[in-house]
């Protein structure tokens, strides 16, 4: 088992020096590939190209030293997805499983559960995780999909730059600057599952140097179905509004952004009263670009969430966060990025007969600093990045998360990259404070203040290649070694309560890849896949009888095939086939599903579309234990109108 790690290490070393970094999380895929492509672009298209990112050095995706997929605005539009979790299905490298009307399990490289805790998710730089279980309540993560610029999905540890929780990956959802969303937009649609949805957005100028936009949206989504076909009575309704303003300072170097959102929603429950959710956030960012390779950014935000799940729990959470980062060319070959961050969060949790999370109020503070240096060698053909984050939290004190990465670009059309990095998941309130009761009121599972951070050492290697002008390939392989994962230890003698500890270990490995093929001017094809295997083991003194089932339930394979075809008469025909392998325990059968979209850009301002989702089956399960109470996702059809003014 260990020999695999050593072998990979040797390979990484043999392939040329250690491993490199992490910066260019950027942008548009190979957007600036060739002169031929550049000259084919219209002025309008040129105006849309994002040429640099202020604090992460610009580079085309093809030379990044990390496993990255980008979901573009066009991918989102042409897939017909109606929510952020659905949009994340567009890349095969994420396992997205819908559990019920409000719950999703989303993870990369395994350990997917409905409270998946190894992914960091950011919306415009704002972390949306809850310190309750270090995961994401996906039901309330929403924005106007038309205003999303791109979603970057980075597999593997991103802890050096992003910090704790970026263990298996980072999902970075980035909306467009207000200057790019000017004018009015109205969308409305209806269908059997997406019963009714609509949105309004308007953007205008803010003085001579800035722009703003404001939006409001609402959706009414139908329930899932129980295995026997009965309605699962978990429909969801949510309304959300928000704004964003971007303006340039007196000098061209400074940019300011202020943005915020508010939302309120309600989700049905088959056996109890409805779940209520609401929240809001406000974010300010000041960025200064002093040259091509230097700049700084200061960001402050406040985030408030509230959730009441009757008879289970109620949570109020406020988070304040300040982040600063500075990029400079420290010496001729050295690009340095360093940063400081501080996060303060305070929650208030109410108990129920089913569970308690004492103390009812808890304050968490997190301070962090990172430094990384990207060194250009061999005339920029080899870039080696070394860096580390140091973080301090109240539970486990200091955590050090270093990484070494390399990217070797022997020619403009190919890059070989590799990385070795360490990441941790720090204890959450679930790990430390949670108490589950049996129906008789006896503590059944309880957290422990002795809970330590879960640790990962990740080995990665990848290769990107443009064998033809119209074809790009991306392959990556990983080998992850986890220590101190959460285990459930029965109390000696009495068995109950089962106490959470860190006696589970795991090794996971897999292959991920994608191919993008521009078959013709009018036809684009994407194929993505992910193969995964894991091997769990317990410390010799562990008495865990769960087998680690509660920590992850992951398919061995996933495949995604998408096609975007432009037809004459401004019609668009898009297809999307996806296969997810069987989940081992609790068992969920493998499934293949198909979405189709027919769009018609009737005029420059009016777009009509008809979308069919999950067309191959009446309904199929994606997560949860077998039985009549398992929720299943149903076939869906909806129509949509989009009008710009």
């Amino acid at each position: 088992m260990k020999s695999a790690g050593i072998l990979i290490a040797c390979l990484v070393l043999a392939a040329g020096v250690p491993a490199s970094a992490w910066d260019q999380l950027d942008q548009e895929e190979e957007v600036l590939a060739s002169a031929e492509e550049l000259k084919g672009l219209s002025i309008e298209e040129l105006m849309e190209i994002d040429v640099t990112s202020v604090t992460r050095r610009s580079a085309s995706l093809s030379s990044a030293a990390a496993a990255i997929s980008v979901i573009t605005r066009e991918d989102i539009r042409r897939s017909g997805v109606t929510s952020l979790p659905e949009a994340l299905r567009l890349v095969a490298t994420l396992h997205v499983a819908r559990f019920d009307g409000r719950t999703w399990g989303i993870s990369a490289r395994g350990f997917n559960i409905t409270t998946a805790n190894k992914m960091l998710v950011l919306i415009d730089g704002r972390s949306v995780y809850t310190p309750l279980f270090s995961g994401v309540f996906w039901d309330v993560q929403d924005t106007l999909l038309e205003d999303v610029d791109r979603i970057e999905v980075i597999r593997g540890p991103g802890a050096t730059l992003w910090g704790a929780n970026a263990v298996n990956g980072v999902i970075n959802i980035i909306t467009r600057p207000a200057g790019d969303t000017q004018g009015g937009l109205v969308t409305a649609g209806a269908g059997n599952e997406e019963r009714a949805f609509g949105a309004v957005r308007y953007g205008g100028a803010l003085g001579k140097r800035g722009h703003y936009r404001a939006y409001a949206k609402h959706f009414d989504r139908d329930s899932l179905a129980f295995a026997d076909g009965r309605d699962a009575e978990d429909p969801m309704k949510m309304g959300q509004g928000g704004f964003r303003a971007d303006w340039q300072g007196a000098g061209e170097a400074d940019w300011f952004t202020v943005q915020g959102d508010v939302y309120r929603g309600r989700v049905g429950e088959p056996t109890r009263a409805d779940t209520d959710v609401d929240g809001g956030n406000l974010l300010g960012r000041w960025s200064r670009k002093t040259s091509e390779s230097s700049g700084m950014e200061l960001q402050v935000y406040w985030d408030n969430t509230y959730r009441r799940v009757p008879t289970v729990f109620e949570e109020h959470l406020d988070t304040w966060d300040v982040d600063f980062q500075h990029q400079l060319r420290a010496a001729e070959r050295h690009n340095v990025i360093w940063g400081l961050g501080y996060r303060y969060s305070r929650d208030r949790v109410s108990d129920s007969p089913a569970l308690a999370i004492p103390p009812p109020r808890r304050t968490l503070e997190l301070a962090s600093a990172f430094l990384q240096d990207e060194i250009s060698l061999a005339g920029d053909r080899l870039r080696v990045t070394v860096g580390s984050k140091v973080e301090h939290n109240q539970s486990t004190g200091f955590e050090i998360q270093p990484s070494v990465r390399f990217a070797w670009t022997p020619a403009d059309d190919r890059t070989l990259w590799g990385a070795v990095s360490r990441a941790v998941r720090t204890p959450t309130r679930f790990d430390e404070d949670l108490v589950f009761f049996t129906t008789g009121g006896v503590p059944f599972i309880r957290g422990s203040r002795d809970f330590e951070s879960e640790e990962l050492l990740a080995w990665e290697l990848g290769y990107r290649w443009l064998p033809l002008r119209d074809l790009s390939l991306d392959l990556s392989a990983f080998y992850h070694v986890y220590d101190e994962l959460r285990s459930q230890e029965p109390t000696p003698g009495t068995v109950l309560p089962i106490v959470l500890a860190n006696k589970l270990n795991a090794e996971t490995w897999g292959l991920e890849g994608r191919a993008n093929w521009q078959a013709s001017q009018r036809w684009r094809v994407y194929f993505g896949w992910a193969l995964f295997e894991n091997d769990l083991s317990f410390d010799p003194d562990s008495r865990d009888a769960s087998g680690g089932e509660a920590e992850g339930n992951d398919p061995d394979y996933r495949f995604t095939l998408r096609s975007q075809l432009d037809l004459p008469g401004r019609f668009e025909l898009d297809g999307w086939l996806r296969t997810v392998g069987e989940l081992p325990s609790p068992e969920v059968p493998d499934y293949t599903e198909l979405d189709l979209r027919l769009g018609w850009r009737a005029t420059d301002v009016l777009e009509l579309s008809l979308v069919g989702q999950n067309l191959l089956h009446d309904q199929h399960p994606e997560f949860g234990p077998p039985g009549p109470a398992r929720r299943e996702v149903e076939r869906s059809v909806y129509g949509k109108v989009l009008w710009r003014f």
């Binding site: 600036l32 219209s42 040129l46 105006m47 040429v51 022997p410």
Partner: protein, 186 residues
């Protein structure tokens, strides 16, 4: 399980020889200048040189004055392209060359390296049909025609239509619609 582990290792091994020896490549422009090069090419399609004879066959010279930020990108874009009946020809003009040699250009990009003498350059071209473009701040104030500005991470441009008309250049209304007004870049 063991099978996949072996496959992963084999794949890792297989990746290494896929990478041939490093090829020596001429440096391409930064993404920002790749985009600006494409803009320059596009501008030629939306400008009319009023003094040019109909059916003019001589090359349309696209000159870069000073340190060249475009590298091979500009040549790659312009090579083999025609504007109407005229072939496009990229040319580099050294900072040391006499200013009156610039009068044979139809488009002149003034590089940032010429910041100190941009007024002098533009005065030497006053009322000459040469479309002047630069990303120097204050270029329009100095009498230039088109100035690039960065808005966020995107390249935008402003046009001084009156100055262009004085140089007997007609800029299409489509291009003007997309441009910022001179007051927005001052």
């Amino acid at each position: 399980m063991a099978l996949l582990r072996r496959t992963v290792l084999l794949a890792l091994l297989a990746l290494v020889p896929l990478v041939p020896a490093a090829l020596l490549g001429q440096r391409a422009a930064s993404p920002e200048y790749q985009v600006k090069a494409a803009f320059l090419y596009n501008f030629t399609k939306f400008v009319e040189w009023l003094d040019a004879r109909p059916g003019e066959r001589s090359p349309l010279r696209l000159c870069v004055l000073g340190n060249d930020p475009f590298g091979e990108t500009l040549d790659g874009i312009v090579f083999g392209e025609m504007v109407g009946s005229r072939p496009l020809l990229p040319e580099r003009v050294d900072a040391g060359e006499p200013l009156n040699s610039l009068r044979s250009c139809q488009v002149l990009f003034v590089s940032r390296s010429e910041r100190a003498r941009v007024r002098e350059v533009l005065e030497s071209l006053a009322e000459t049909p040469v479309l002047t473009v630069s990303d120097l701040q204050g270029f329009l104030d100095a009498g230039g025609h088109i100035q690039f500005v960065m808005q966020g991470n995107k390249v935008r441009f402003a046009i001084d239509q009156a100055a262009a008309e004085r140089s007997r250049l007609r800029i299409s209304s489509k291009l003007l619609r997309l441009a910022l007004s001179p007051s927005e870049v001052r």
